[in-house]
């Protein structure tokens, strides 16, 4: 052993570096996959920008579809922008508190090994694997036919037409919130677990209750992780069409939604309409691409807002670390 070690450091004893085929192959493979992903993204975004850019105009994003939604010179997407933004923002308001509270229960209160915890955790994980159209059907069956129906019986017993027992902004947002719940729960749980247990002990040892510890010590530390969960949920939900198909999206609305019970037009759903209902596919194609471009930009804008908030929180935290 020792003679080998000594010999190898002698000037003339250095072994020549060998070319490692396996390392080279796998390094190349990882690099190639990265390039591939970037290339796919570039092709999709590039295609949309190239084909949609010319149609994009101030008029396009500030007018509706009153005249003709299939005419390049008359169609507009303002109602869809409003509808999509509204359902995404509402969904965030529902899913972030629900997800954060679930994650707090799982990490701060529940025993890690108990049956209840395991059931909740596997339920959350399974939720992530459910196809989005199933969430749409769930929303229709639960929120509209059950919750909405009974709400109408209670609140509007004499109404001719259902108020809540029909598709609307509220139910679409809630359906999306159920769909994105796992994303928020998992992101929040991870950030809660990353907090040093010593901080919780310090707080409890000073005579704080668990709730005080969670609110004053744990949650402020977990805020960036919670916001990451929100960002992921927004990205996932903004482009989804299936969950809102039966729960709120409309083919055409003369007015912008002005109540949570109203149906709304939606960018994603509009893309579907343009590509399936148009009398002349070739002529509507520029509108189609411009609508997709607007959807991408809206998703991007919502993400940028959330990311800015998160980096502000991080800066404040770093000042105290």
């Amino acid at each position: 052993m020792s003679t080998l070690a000594v010999r190898s450091i002698l000037p003339d004893g250095f072994p020549r570096a060998r070319f490692d085929v396996i390392s080279f192959f796998f390094t190349g493979l990882t690099g190639l996959s990265t390039v591939l992903i970037l290339a796919i993204l570039a092709v999709i975004v590039g295609n949309v920008v190239l084909l949609g850019w010319d149609t994009l105009s101030w008029r396009f994003v500030t007018s509706g579809t009153e005249q003709d939604m299939f005419d390049v010179n008359k169609a507009g997407v303002l109602p869809m922008i409003v509808g999509t933004a509204a359902r995404v923002i509402l969904m965030t308001l529902f899913v972030v508190p629900a997800g954060v509270i679930t994650a707090i229960y799982l990490t701060e209160y529940a025993s890690r090994t108990s049956l209840t915890t395991r059931i909740i955790r596997s339920a959350v994980n399974n939720l992530a694997g459910v196809p989005s159209i199933v969430f749409g059907l769930f929303g229709l069956g639960f929120f509209i036919s059950f919750v909405g129906f009974h709400a109408d019986n209670l609140l509007h017993p004499n109404a001719q037409n259902p108020v809540w027992g029909k598709p609307g902004l509220l139910w679409a947002s809630m359906t999306l919130a159920v769909m994105t719940l796992p994303v928020v729960v998992v992101a929040t749980e991870e950030s809660l677990r990353a907090i040093a247990p010593g901080l919780r002990e310090a707080s409890l040892a000073l005579g704080a209750t668990r709730l005080q510890t969670v609110i004053k010590i744990v949650l402020p530390q977990a805020l960036p992780g919670i916001l990451t969960g929100g960002i992921l949920a927004i990205s996932r939900a903004a482009g989804e069409v299936a969950p809102i198909l039966f729960t709120g999206a409309a083919y055409y609305m003369a007015n912008l939604p002005h109540s949570l019970a109203d149906q709304f037009m939606d960018l994603g759903y509009h893309v579907f309409i343009l590509s399936t209902q148009s009398p002349n596919i070739e002529k509507t194609r520029p509108i189609l691409y411009a609508t997709v471009l607007v959807l991408l930009m809206l998703t991007f804008a919502l993400n940028v807002i959330a990311i800015l908030v998160r980096s502000k929180v991080r800066r404040q935290m770093r000042a105290m670390q």
Partner: protein, 277 residues
């Protein structure tokens, strides 16, 4: 080298009582632990512990890793409640109250029995907010009062002169020793009667350790201190009483002087002279 240590069967045994000579005459003990058993799941971590500690003295718990000394310490302010699968039998009385009794308010208990941890754990807040946190928890809201207590606690923790100009800067920016003293200041700010210290200097350099030790000797005038330490010299320097634990049992408990010069058990002697552990 292997040393055979006879393991005793744990039949109930009388609590070990500190000899009267060092105590205030006829004072009843402040902390009384009797027949205490603790299980982590199926592991029995504390076996039939009985020990009594008086007020305004420093008691050191020594023993090799895993002997149960930290576990016992954490029984005294019920920090073990937070761990899944811990079962406790027996009784712990502090100032006459059974702290595992049904009518005990754990919040009030932890206010009266403070704790300093092995790894300094200041909150990622300013020095000021670190100490104000505990005060606000206990209903002190007046700024002038909070300011006064913060100054007093930092002075008591021998930290005031070093940090008085940067109270509103992050406690995380301090050195390890200073952070630990912030934790001590935070603990004494809410005026507990007992302070539990779980190897408070084990992560510190010798100079910072010396300062913490001086501080402990100082704090003894106002508080009752129970300290877990791996460092035998430290126990000898700062404590009045020493308890030696081995494999979940309390082997010997006596004045520190006697424990380190003339212990009555062979195991204690082997441990304090460094023959094992």
């Amino acid at each position: 080298m292997r040393i055979d240590i006879p393991i005793r069967t744990s039949a109930p045994k009388p609590d070990l009582v500190p000899p009267a000579s060092l105590n205030a005459p006829s004072a009843s003990p402040l902390i009384e632990v009797s027949n205490l058993d603790l299980h982590y799941g199926t592991t029995r971590a504390l076996k039939n512990i009985g020990i009594q500690m008086h007020g305004h003295v420093v008691t050191a718990f020594i023993g090799p890793s895993g002997c149960g000394k930290s576990t016992l310490l954490r029984c005294l302010n019920r920090m073990n409640d937070l761990i899944d699968g811990v079962r406790i039998r027996g009784s712990v009385k502090i100032a006459g109250h059974d702290i595992y009794g049904k009518d005990i308010d754990v919040i009030e208990l932890r206010k009266r029995v403070g704790m300093v941890f092995q790894k300094s754990n200041p909150f990622p807040k300013s020095i000021y907010e670190n100490i104000a946190y505990g005060l606000r928890l206990h209903g002190i809201r007046k700024k002038s009062e909070i300011d006064a207590i913060i100054e007093r606690s930092l002075r008591a923790a021998a930290l005031w002169d070093e940090v008085k100009d940067r109270l509103h800067r992050s406690a995380m920016g301090l050195s390890g020793g200073q952070q630990q003293r912030v934790c001590i200041a935070r603990a004494i700010a809410i005026e507990p009667e007992v302070i539990l210290m779980d190897e408070p200097a084990s992560a510190l350099d010798p100079i910072a350790t010396a300062r913490i030790e001086e501080l402990i000797l100082d704090l003894r005038k106002q508080f009752t201190i129970v300290i877990v330490t791996h460092n035998m010299q430290q126990a000898a320097r700062i404590s009045d009483y020493t308890a030696f634990f081995y494999l979940g049992e309390l082997i010997e408990y006596d004045t520190t002087r006697k424990m380190f010069t003339n212990p009555s058990k062979k195991q204690t002697e082997d441990y304090v002279t460094g023959r094992f552990g």
